[in-house]
Symmetry: C2
């Protein structure tokens, strides 16, 4: 059975102006024709000379394409007889031509029960913040980053011994970085730990996922602050956790509420140094209550210390981990706020009882995070640049916060910024009659970012508010943002 | 109730030669004393002047430490009355002093059922390869990497607009990189796809985890090549998959064996371009059989194309994805072999039916991979440096392979290197009576790396062998490695 050159000629379009070589175009065209059943298993191809002549291309070009199809097994070369469409294809039901829209789309694959549920339960997230503008949250002062030092450390890095910087890295993260982090935690977060308890991850979000996977069975109860952190919430949902919305007041997580709702929790997720998003610091009494409740339930606590380095007061905020005497707390830190988000670097500090487990999981099932950013951050810390940067940012964020409060004074009664003691975002209460959603939308229309409090809520709460970031932009832009909001007040009035 | 200074003096050791400041030492000592119950809730601390005098340190140093403990809530300052151990601590059962070995270690936390099982089922992995030596596997030719270009691209990167390089990145990965990958797949792997189907991940291992989590419920059957890839195996086990060891022959995965063992598989994991570790290319007939079996079961196929760029023959190896007309194949690629492992960059190519699902998972539950390496690789590809590097490495690996075969000819009958057509490792058969384990250990003792075939086996197989990497070291080192093995032959003989 011989294929008429015509079938091929009519199906294949060659474009001399295309980026792809004529040979690749012919290869792709023939491949599609074969797989779509346009030429049948066992049919013989016209001789390369004939095909070349009719397509107006050189014989060599044809041979290139045909050889590739022979290598792929779609064509077979039979000595002295020519080239044939592979008989093996007879098993393969012809399908609509590749790369053409399918008449009926293939039904989507069945998902895991956990993912199926998660897709419905996820809090919607857009792309995370990346453009400094008033009042974007979660974005540090990119304008104040010591880029010259950073670029210098990178330039030096590429001159290092290639074995150290190019092969697979240390499974738990670079030893040198883990030592630097342990020293930092000691000096500024009151945490005494062994670097062996520290595991480097690609940002706090990965830590939350790993913790959930390691500790939770689908349906296990997790106490979660309501309102609370959106990313962590989704990481837990993705692993099948049953999130229990626990009230938060000025003293932090209301432990009694958690005990009433789910005394059998396996995990509690908290932000004790700076409640996300309300901004309160968890009281000592509440911390002790939480540790006691975890002890009683045999549960663990995830302490997300996302911006604890940037306390505005004269003394650092305490960490829950520093008073965790029974190994209940997994502390999670990130460099997204202290350095920058695109670095994707964070760590978890495992209590003694979990170190072996994480060592096994990290060695057997993960392949680590990139070496370069780890080495650079370790160097940055060891050279003292990190401590200096933190100190400077602490001052800067305090200034920017005070600027925000100063400018926003004119919004009083409409939008009142609450006291903030840490980090670089603050909650603002809304005046009576100010609609959270309408305000956020009106501001967005004028390119001012406000995050509605309701977005952080696992379950609806009575109060309303908006979260304002003040870390990413200079005072002038903060003032301009307030101006725009003031314009909205007048409209609303 | 007043605390005797003596209790404090006897418990606290200050070391003037220590790295930590005296104030931090005192803070830590007091904190431990309070949390361990050495001083009781409600007790009054001696005046700072008294304490300073008795400890032989300045009053300011004492005040620093005390202020910090007040900020943390462990001490309370009462105006006109002095400083007291916080009453809130009364709820807190005193525990053995922090940082001292516990008499009875706290019992380890309960793990998830999946993790509990996984820790027993994991294939043991050591730290992944990082030092070039004969015959390390999975490590490309670090010595031939164009580091000058690389460092130049990085230096330029840090001068870019900060908003683009420092904020949170694009959730599915840098658009520019995804476009470059799509073009590369088209040109060299025969895959036509839309960049929207590509999701950037932190290495193939993360892709396997994500795929497993998205598609598999605990206990779901996964066809897995036996022998097969160790990392992928563990990633699947970590998500609770039930791995079904499917035979592999010269034509690749024996589909009939899979159908006999688990016709209800949810997923099949294969390495069609270069079976890991046997090195065979999956035949077209087998590919079509596999696609048909997946169609019938409603299952998906993971195609791990870990080193497909480095085919030794004149034509590229085909990909399974390129003939996947029904959207059954998730293609996974990595830059660990084509660039270097410490980069931790890979991607998955989702079939149409899964794109929306992955978009949701990536947006809601992940926070992406670092921006810098993505931008650098995109630039590297766009500038044509990637294609050049691949071409040069293809030649180099061919040379190194031929060198290995040449040198190893003298080992014939003891260790026979099998034909390799791709990548940079090859399987060697062992002569009758040569013990796989003993050989590997004897070689290791002489700093020569051989990976025993049995390590790749989910279930024991009849044949023995060792895997030799030849990509990471120069011909001289390959020759020296063979010399050492020749020495072992004589011992064995």
């Amino acid at each position: 059975m011989k294929t008429r050159a015509g079938a091929i000629l009519s199906a294949i379009r060659l474009d001399r102006d295309a980026d792809r070589s004529l040979s690749v175009q012919l290869y792709m065209g023939l491949r599609d024709l074969i797989l779509s059943g346009g030429v049948k298993p066992g049919e013989r191809l016209p001789a390369s000379r004939t095909l070349g002549a009719e397509l107006g291309i050189s014989r060599t070009t044809v041979i290139d394409a045909v050889d590739r199809l022979v290598a792929e097994g779609l064509l077979e070369s039979r000595v002295g007889a020519g080239t044939f469409v592979s008989d093996a294809l007879a098993q393969h039901a012809p399908v609509a031509a590749l790369r053409k829209p399918r008449a009926a789309p293939v039904s989507p694959p069945r998902l895991s029960a956990t993912t199926d549920h998660a897709l419905k339960a996820f809090a919607r997230r857009d792309r995370l913040p990346h453009t400094p503008k008033a009042f974007v949250t979660a974005l540090p002062a990119l304008d104040a980053f010591p880029m010259t030092h950073w670029a210098r450390l990178y330039a030096r890095h590429w001159r290092r011994n290639r074995d150290m910087i190019m092969g697979y890295g240390e499974p738990f993260g670079l030893e040198r970085l883990r030592r630097a982090i342990a020293a930092h935690l000691q000096a500024s977060r009151g945490i005494t730990c062994d670097p062996a308890q520290i595991f480097i991850v690609g940002g706090a979000q990965q830590a939350f996922s790993l913790i959930a996977r390691t500790l939770l069975d689908p349906g296990d109860a997790v106490w979660f602050e309501n309102p609370g952190a959106i990313g962590a919430r989704n990481a837990l949902i993705a692993q099948g956790a049953r999130l229990v919305a626990v009230d938060v007041d000025r003293d932090g997580l209301v432990v009694a509420d958690g005990l009433a709702k789910a005394p059998d929790m396996r995990l509690a997720f908290v932000t004790p140094s700076h409640q996300q998003p309300l901004g309160h610091v968890m009281s000592l009494a509440r911390r002790l209550e939480l540790l006691k409740a975890a002890d009683a339930a045999g549960a663990l606590i995830v302490e997300d210390d996302y911006d604890g380095d940037f306390h505005h007061g004269s003394q650092p905020q305490p960490t829950l981990k520093s008073i965790d005497t029974n190994g209940r707390v997994i502390y999670v830190g990130t460099f997204s706020k202290s350095l920058y988000p695109a670095l994707r670097l964070g760590f978890l500090l495992a209590p003694d009882g979990l170190v072996e487990t994480f060592r096994d999981v990290f060695t057997c099932a993960l392949s680590g995070v990139p070496t370069a950013p780890q080495a650079i951050v370790a160097e940055f810390m060891d050279e003292g640049l990190f401590a200096t940067h933190i100190r400077q940012m602490r001052r800067l964020y305090k200034e920017r916060y005070e600027g925000l409060v100063h400018h926003a004074a004119r919004l009083s009664g409409f939008l009142d910024v609450e006291p903030a003691t840490s980090g670089f975002h603050a909650l603002a209460r809304l005046g009576a009659g100010v609609d959270e959603h309408a305000l956020v939308e009106a501001a967005r229309a004028r390119d001012v970012v406000l995050v509605p409090l309701s977005r952080y809520c696992l379950e609806p709460i009575a109060r309303t508010g908006v979260v304002l970031g003040y870390g990413a932009v200079a005072d002038k832009q903060i003032a301009a943002g307030v101006d725009i909001l003031a314009g909205l007040t007048q409209q609303a009035a």
